[in-house]
Amino acid sequence: MALLEVRNLSVDFETTSGRFRAVDGFDLTLDPGDITAVVGESGSGKSVAFLAMMGLLPWTATITSDVMKFDGNDLRSITPRSRRQIIGKDMSMIFQEPMTSLNPCYTVGFQIKEALRIHLGMDRKARHARAIELFEQVGIPAPETRLSTFPHQMSGGMNQRVMIAMAIACKPKMLIADEPTTALDVTIQAQILELLTSLQEETGMALVLITHDMGVVAETAQQVSVQYAGQKCEQQEVTALFERPHHPYTAALLAALPERATTKHLPTIPGVVPGQFDRPKGCMFAPRCSIATELCHTTPPPVGGAEIGFARCHTPINLKAEEEA
């Protein structure tokens, strides 16, 4: 049985200027131990989809879906109390900004032990021992003394390690990492990614990596889901996606990678992700697409089959038949 199954998840926000659909028909299936990357530009709704599963969206959000199941629990009808027994324990999440994601008034030790007490009911001694063990596991030197420091006394990289330690404290079945390296130095980024993948190997948890960095995707993920303007536009296994992207957006993203550039000027995707008021009638990507047809501008494309990576496109590229011909 799949660990996580999400079908047709949509999230709408009630804003003063009307309804805004941040996530539109998001699908994802995750088996235990999978590593999936969810890629997309800012505003593509990738974080919102997972915050919806965690139940962390503000009350202005309306969440609808056909299926939203985690580990046998139906997340659509779950009570807040039962959800609190799952999140932070079986399903946990780390965030983009480690410096502001930890409470400045409490020591990091307090913040880790808190989760252990709430979910596992450990006593004082056991919590302390487990916290030290966790700090060692995430590579924080001198764990005994570090437990009693405050977040502002540590670097961003160290704080992200604390966040990771906190998230894996109760041995979760799934860890959602929401752009875990965006706010960090490049050298630290690599360390954190390495830590995440090695922890995944050790514990066998499923790992969801939300990112906008294709380089991160190539290094860590098995499955890749590409999001655009709240919709999933393509999903493939990582090597296949890099070799043969089917959606023009994926292809454009890959072409924009510096290491893949063939010309002196780095190719870019013209324009920006459509906002609340300038949503196109047809395909969301049509206004920025180099091969858009008349049909693309007028009619929303259907979701393709597995053979074209579920590409949501009228004119998928890199088709098998094309190459053979």
Partner: protein, 345 residues
């Protein structure tokens, strides 16, 4: 912490000198002459006037008057009142406990009601309770305090006859001044009979308590409104922070998120406001003390200004300023206890 305290105490010195300068010149800038006020309406010969001026040292240049005053202050002598001929220091500390007792009761009431009200309003943002609370806070904040006091007197003392109108205690009780706090002294004095029915309880303590209720409520009104509004806005800001999302992502119950993770952070700006409020309260609640005939320093200062009682005004202002500085220091220390970022730097 000791270094922190010492460095804060060092800043007391220039503040203190500034305060003495201002209080010294403030009363002298005011029109009016203490000698004429003392002499009353009857005419006075020029010789007598000059003699009195020399007696009080007003014929000296201002600089040397200030010098004399400061040498006295540094030796703990604030001079004697022109009117009562008693040392200013003694008068201040005879009256200050009354002000302190009233202020402490008022600020305690304001904190005990204001912080929970602000928290509840913040977590019920936009709902009925929030709107009702914030509207009444606005009313409380904008209401003229003398009018509010009179309404309370009419209602509780006039119609219901629950509370006395003025003073600190009924005239029928007399006991020794031990702490200066009527509530404590009256308990020490004994003779209190406790009853399950509040109106049957009798004795000096209950008399003192019933005298204290109305002034406390009146004096607490504005601080209560300020604290409730400040707590609400601080809570709203903190509840939107990333670390609150982290706390929710951990699966913590909402009560723990509110009271452990959010409230402590939200208290940082609230404590500053409370410190400022205590400062103003200690300076004497002039209106409240006047309306309820509360024998505190607010009323004393106002009377002294009318009488052009120079030593009392400058000495009283200085002592009040010292009290406010002590309160500020306490707030800074509390700040460090709540906010670890300040403690270490």
């Amino acid at each position: 912490m000791l270094n922190f305290l010492l460095s804060r105490l060092m800043t007391f010195i220039p503040t203190f000198i500034g305060v003495t300068l201002i209080s010294f010149s403030f009363i002298r800038v005011l029109p009016g002459d203490p000698i004429i006020v003392m002499a009353g309406e009857r005419g006075m010969s020029d010789e007598r006037y000059a003699e009195l001026r020399a007696q009080f040292g007003f014929d000296q240049p201002l600089v040397s008057q200030y010098w004399d005053y400061m040498t006295g202050v540094l030796q703990g002598d604030l001079g004697t009142s022109f009117v009562t001929k008693k040392p200013v220091f003694d008068e201040f500390f005879a009256l200050f406990p009354a002000t302190l007792e009233l202020s402490l009761c008022a600020i305690t009431l304001a904190i005990l009601l204001g912080i929970p009200a602000g928290v509840i309003a913040a977590i019920n943002r936009g709902k009925f309770f929030d709107r009702a609370l914030m509207s009444s806070a606005l009313v409380g904040y904008s209401m003229p305090i003398f009018w509010w006091a009179l309404l309370m007197i009419i209602f509780f003392s006039g119609w219901l006859q629950w509370t006395p109108v003025s003073g600190r205690i009924s005239l029928m009780y007399f006991f020794d001044d031990v702490t200066g706090f009527m509530l404590i002294d009256s308990l020490l004095a004994g003779g209190n009979s406790i009853s399950l029915f509040p109106f049957e309880a009798d004795g000096p303590f209950f008399s003192a308590l019933s005298h204290l209720v109305l002034p406390t409520i009146v004096l607490a009104t504005i601080p209560l409104a300020v604290i409730a509004r400040q707590t609400r806005s601080a809570m709203l800001e903190v509840l939107g922070e990333d670390y609150i999302r982290t706390a929710r992502a951990k699966g913590l119950p909402p009560s723990r998120i509110t009271y452990v993770h959010a409230l402590r952070n939200a208290m940082i700006p609230v404590i500053t406001v409370i410190g400022l409020l205590v400062g103003t309260l200690l300076a004497g609640a002039i209106l409240t003390e006047t309306i309820f005939s509360w024998p505190g320093i607010g009323k004393w200062m106002v009377d002294s200004i009318y009488r052009r009682d120079y030593p009392v005004v400058q000495g009283g202002l200085m002592l009040i300023a010292v009290m406010v500085m002590v309160v500020n220091l306490t707030v800074d220390v509390l700040y460090g206890l709540i906010n670890p970022k300040i403690r270490k730097s």
